[in-house]
Symmetry: C2
Subunit: 119 residues, 2 copies
């Protein structure tokens, strides 16, 4: 109803991307440095450069980072748009749950009976 369904794919990708601690760390490093290459990031994370690259591909597919080729190196930057969309989605979802729970609670108090549906 009031939940935005248009960016379901975006939300899906962002949630999957944020589920990994290493990727969250990379995003943290990126937001702190403004720009960084995969090689530079690999120095601040206990995995290899190729592992970092794979993570950056996932983050790029989720729209969370942007790759810019500068000479022979690839600079990565954080992109807040899809994160912001997912944050809004989650906030709306939490509000929706609260609404439903409030309604159910009110209904339960009024009708005194607890059997909601399944007999």
């Amino acid at each position: 109803m009031s939940l935005p369904e248009a960016d379901a794919a975006v939300v899906d990708g962002v949630l999957a991307a944020l589920a990994d601690p290493t990727r969250r760390r990379l995003l943290d490093l990126l937001s702190g440095h403004g720009q960084a290459t995969a090689s530079t990031l690999a120095q601040h994370v206990p995995v290899s450069r190729q592992a970092v690259v794979k993570h950056l591909v996932v983050l790029d597919d989720a729209g969370l980072v942007e790759a810019t080729k500068v000479g022979r190196e690839v600079r990565y930057t954080v992109r807040p748009d899809s994160l912001d969309a997912t944050a809004r989605w989650m906030t709306a979802l939490a509000a929706d749950w609260d609404r439903r729970l409030a309604r159910i609670r009110r209904f339960a108090e009024a009708s005194e009976i607890s059997g909601t549906d399944t007999p």
Copy 2:
């Protein structure tokens, strides 16, 4: 840093839990029905009851659902608190990225050095 670090474990659990589409579907069903058992949920989802139970355990560990034993059945309910906390965390993170990007952009414009696109 304005980012709340106290609920890092909560955020971690919620993100991991929400990463799975089946778990999101279960949460959707639960928020719609108010209450449901694992057997009931399994009828609305293309997986077995035991798979649903495992998902519910994950959701319970993440603080997203609550289990209540009623007679011989276990009723599950949605719990918005940790979802709300995660939503706030994500909103703060998006705002933080925006802040940093704005600062970097302002700095780049002021110092005139970085040829962003036109060489």
